[in-house]
């Protein structure tokens, strides 16, 4: 499945992601990481924190709807793999981000922006394995 190169949308979307991360730090003093948000929602000992993270999640899920409403077209989402692969990948991602302490948003966008050595190492690690994994699944296994 070939996808079109979209440098402007990707740059603009990336800038919005960055704006959200800076605003969350400016107003709430927190790293904007999807792993941290999910992890926080799975802990019920701090309800003020839980409500904040629930609001972030609801806002995020409203993103595609807002785009549909504003432009009349739903944002592109094509899944070229089986549902089984989606579930398998999700399980592996869950274990990995738990041990790695973050994902693309927390380490990749926020941690790297404060030049955290942990985040730089984490980003290099997950980029290497994701490129390697796609090489294996597409070109060695032929999926």
């Amino acid at each position: 499945m070939i996808t079109e190169f979209t440098p402007l949308q990707s740059l603009g979307g990336g800038a919005l992601i960055g704006i959200a991360a800076v605003l969350l730090m400016a107003f709430h003093g927190r790293i904007l990481g999807a792993t941290g948000i999910l992890g926080g929602l799975m802990r019920l000992n701090d309800m003020a924190d839980w409500r904040l993270k629930a609001a972030l999640l609801v806002g995020m899920a409203m993103g595609p709807l807002a785009l549909l409403w504003a432009t009349g077209t739903a944002p592109a989402m094509e899944v070229p793999i089986s549902n089984l692969a989606v579930v398998l990948g999700g399980l592996i991602v869950g274990v990995g981000v738990s041990y790695g302490g973050g994902c693309t948003s927390g380490h990749g966008v926020c941690g790297n922006a404060r030049f955290s050595r942990r985040s730089i190492v984490a980003t290099i690690s997950f980029m290497i394995t994701s490129f390697a994994t796609v090489f294996v699944t597409r070109h060695l296994l032929g999926a």
Partner: protein, 150 residues
């Protein structure tokens, strides 16, 4: 006020993810498929997402950290650990394997829930399952507490 602010920030993030292509597994997997460089179909868009985000967060954080405290809280909550260990490197490596299989990462999948499609729900459910498995394993592998002196 805190809730409204978080809702708006989440929305900005969600719109950004949706525009950028990060919630589109086909696009994510094509970015990872470097072999497509040879036949000219490689899609390097996602490098622009990370570039666009960092172009904002690097100067933005600098500005924010120049203030004594966030607007709605009394302190910044930043990770205090600085250890680079096997957990960090291997955990992140494992995350990359899952990302390469599914094409969703957590930040891409959470906004994608709003599409109402089944795949992001399957991914997030499995992701929560993975987080729970890791939590149980980590709780078991913690060193035992020292016995109280009798």
């Amino acid at each position: 006020m805190r809730i409204l602010s978080a809702l708006v920030i989440g929305l900005i993030f969600g719109v950004g993810i949706a525009i950028s292509g990060m919630m589109n597994p086909a696009k994510v997997l094509n970015f990872f498929d470097l072999a497509q460089i040879w036949d000219g179909t490689w899609d390097p868009s996602l490098a622009f997402v990370m570039g666009g985000a960092l172009a904002v967060t690097i100067p933005g954080y600098r500005l924010v950290f120049g203030r004594p405290a966030p607007v709605l809280e009394n302190r910044f909550q930043l990770p205090d650990t600085r250890v680079i260990d096997r957990r960090l490197v291997l955990g992140s490596g494992v995350f990359g394997i899952g990302w390469g299989i599914a094409g969703f990462c957590p930040g891409g999948a959470l906004p994608a829930l709003g599409t109402g499609r089944i795949e992001p729900f399957l991914f997030v459910a499995a992701l929560i399952g993975g987080l729970l498995i890791a939590r149980v394993v980590q709780a078991r592998s913690l060193p035992p507490r020292p016995k109280p002196a009798t």
